[in-house]
């Protein structure tokens, strides 16, 4: 999938452009574009909402709990290898000895989609059920200002929350463990923050789509959270099942059968946004990782072996995860475009 192939959010498909396009001669006479007014109101609503506090606490816990368990190991690492690279990044990637999954990046990666869904699932159907949509649309704004403004407000709030979480983690490292990040590490953390925002934006766009398509906010919340659980928790299980169905390994099957099944499994896994995010996240936070996932050809395995000793620079890491980032952005754009088009075609009254 490439970014160029996915529809642009500002444009409707040609066949319905006559209905959707904003008349060119009509400039908004507002001091500022309508979507900024809507985004401002929505952002203020989010900030004052209970869900903002709850999510901030949940995410902070998702970061602090693994940090607490890993802090002893991180301190040890910092002492024995003063001057070693990437000690600060260990804050994000080092798990506890007993439970390897108990690491900040994994935890945050699992919980973060909640943010996206929570700030979007009732964006449009909420307005419908409150009866505010016709009133809103009868103000001198374009119809797409509503959906653009809501998406912008959601992006702003998830960026705010995620930045706060990263600040908490970094603060913990600086103040409690006394480790200071090197310049390169700061850049890696910023890149990881950017990646995480893109990933959560995907869920935000998905939540927005649900809020346009489904009439009841309760239904869209249920479906949104259901899919989140399905993908993040049972994702691996489902992929295994599907691969098993499509390419079953015959009893007594040889190495080629097993390899074929594994390759298929990996391909399907790659279709999951959670996998895309996890792989990219690992590479960005750990300069010693030189390949995105298990090698699937002999050539890749050899190439990987040759590089094993060296650490990657940030731009090498970025190059490695670029396809992942592009795919995540494309998925986000596709979700938003679907929500946009559906919203523009809907009747004003429900």
């Amino acid at each position: 999938m490439s970014a160029a192939a996915s529809p642009r959010p500002e444009r409707a498909p040609a066949h319905e452009r006559s209905q959707l396009a904003r008349p060119a001669q009509e400039a908004s006479a507002l001091g500022r574009p309508g979507w900024t007014v809507i985004a401002g109101k929505e952002f203020a609503d989010h900030l004052l909402s209970a869900r903002f506090i709850v999510l901030l606490v949940v995410l902070a816990l998702a970061a602090v709990v693994p940090l607490y368990f890993a802090s002893a190991r991180i301190r040890e690492l910092a002492e024995q290898a003063s001057g070693a690279q990437a000690v600060f990044l260990a804050l994000f990637t080092l798990g506890s000895q007993q439970v390897p999954l108990l690491r900040v990046d994994a935890f945050v990666g699992i919980v973060a989609p909640l943010l996206g869904i929570a700030f979007a699932f009732d964006a449009v159907n909420g307005e419908r059920s409150e009866g505010t949509l016709p009133r809103l649309l009868s103000q001198p704004i374009h119809r797409d200002d509503v959906i653009n403004g809501k998406f912008a407000a959601g992006l702003a709030i998830i960026s705010l929350v995620l930045t706060a979480i990263v600040a908490i983690i970094a603060g913990f490292g600086l103040l409690r463990l006394g480790i200071v990040p090197a310049g390169g590490e700061v850049l890696r953390i910023v890149a990881w923050l950017g990646l995480t925002i893109v990933y959560v934006a995907l869920w935000l766009a998905f939540g927005l789509l649900l809020s346009v398509l489904l009439r009841r906010a309760a239904t869209s919340a249920l479906i949104g959270f259901g899919i989140w659980i399905l993908i993040t928790i049972f994702g691996g299980l489902i992929v295994g099942l599907v691969a098993g169905l499509l390419a079953p390994i015959p009893s007594g099957g040889g190495a080629t059968d097993i390899l074929a099944s594994a390759q298929l499994q990996q391909l399907i896994t790659r279709l999951l946004p959670s996998t895309l995010y996890q792989e990219a996240s690992l590479v960005l936070l750990d300069p010693s990782i030189t390949q995105v996932s298990t090698p699937s050809t002999i050539g890749q395995a050899i190439a990987a072996q040759e590089q094993i000793a060296s650490l990657l620079s940030l731009d090498q890491s970025l190059l490695l995860v670029w396809p992942h980032v592009v795919a995540l952005v494309a998925l986000t754009v596709a979700c938003f475009a679907a929500a946009y088009v559906a919203f523009m075609r809907q009747e004003v009254r429900a």
Partner: protein, 332 residues
């Protein structure tokens, strides 16, 4: 000098939803300084018409011009100048009435100071000033409706379009709201289009009405015009008598039936009710009233009331729909 175009004009305005024609070839004109009532039952196509006037839905055919502009092509300009009260209007429950109006003001690009003055004025006009700082979730349906009217007034529109403005408002409130609308037309020369399915409720406030049934406008004009057109040329006279005993009642009925121009005698339907005389032709109504007075005197009947009863819009509506039906069926 060419006369200014009416604030609302439609020509052949049509909206089809698949097989259903919600609005069929609508020709309508609403002048500045008048209240026009778009009247019809649920599903008649009133809301659909209004949405087309605001550019919120596209006409299938025909054109509309609102404040001189085509709402399908210049929706922003139209929406800047037209105040709209949607059917079953809603507000953000977590915000106060005043905050809700402030949001509307911001969407209209108003400065904060300007906005606050207008908001205070509008809240005062609809009688919500003392509840303006409670959250909207504590408002009753009727209060939301009033807030909706205030909301429509914030942009100081020259045209006001109100979809079912009196539904959910108590009878006293209806009188207040209708007075407010009258005042707006009188003081600001606004054009007001309101829709309602409660015909008799808004009958008194409308300068002209359009009768809408199954997407077609089957008659428009003043209530009196329509009464003449659809009333089968019948007028009604209400008579109150003080009678004792059934014999008196029979005598009175015979006296009324013998009068020239009286084609039907409706007896009182309860002890407090009056007689209702059907008069044809409608123009004979004044003579009939004089004749009733004379006959009562001559026959020793004690008169308590005597008046012409206003044509009921409900009645007109029933007849209009009835008359239009054969045409609609043959056209379909």
């Amino acid at each position: 000098m060419i006369a200014a175009e009416a604030p609302i004009v439609t020509r052949g305005l049509t909206k089809r939803y698949e097989a259903l024609t919600a609005v069929d070839q609508l020709d309508l004109e609403v002048q500045a300084g008048e209240i026009f009532g778009l009247l019809g039952q649920n599903g008649a196509g009133k809301t659909t018409t209004i949405l087309m006037l605001l550019g919120l839905t596209e006409p299938t055919a025909g054109t509309a011009r609102v404040v001189g502009l085509d709402p399908a092509r210049r929706p922003l300009e139209v929406k800047r100048r037209v105040g709209y009260l949607p059917d079953a209007v809603g507000f953000y429950g977590n915000m106060t009435g005043r905050q809700n109006l402030r949001y509307t003001a911001r969407l209209n690009g108003l400065e904060r100071r300007d906005a606050d003055a207008r908001i205070a004025e509008a809240l005062d006009q609809v009688g919500l000033a003392d509840r303006a700082d409670s959250t909207a979730e504590t408002y009753s349906r009727g209060m939301l409706q009033r807030l909706g009217i205030a909301d429509a007034l914030i942009k100081q529109p020259s045209v006001l379009i109100l979809d079912e403005p009196t539904t959910a408002i108590d009878p006293l409130g209806v009188v207040e709201i209708l007075d407010l609308l009258r005042g707006l037309v009188r003081d600001r020369g606004m054009a007001i289009l309101l829709s309602s399915h409660l015909l008799s409720q808004v009958q008194s406030v409308c300068d002209r009405v359009g009768i809408f049934a199954a997407g077609r406008l089957i008659g428009q004009g003043t209530v009196e015009d329509l009464a003449t057109r659809f009333g089968e040329d019948t007028a009604h006279v209400e008579v109150g008598l003080e009678l004792d005993g059934p014999a008196e009642t029979e005598r009175a009925a015979a006296v009324f039936a013998s009068l020239d121009g009286v084609v039907g005698v409706g007896r009182p339907e309860g002890p407090a009710a009056g007689w209702r005389l059907d008069v044809r032709p409608a123009s004979a109504e004044r003579q009939v009233r004089q004749a009733v007075l004379a006959a009562c005197v001559a026959n020793g009947l004690t008169l308590s009331t005597l008046r012409a009863s206003a044509p009921s819009l409900d009645e007109i509506y029933r007849r209009a729909v009835h008359q239009a039906r054969p045409a609609a069926v043959s056209a379909a």
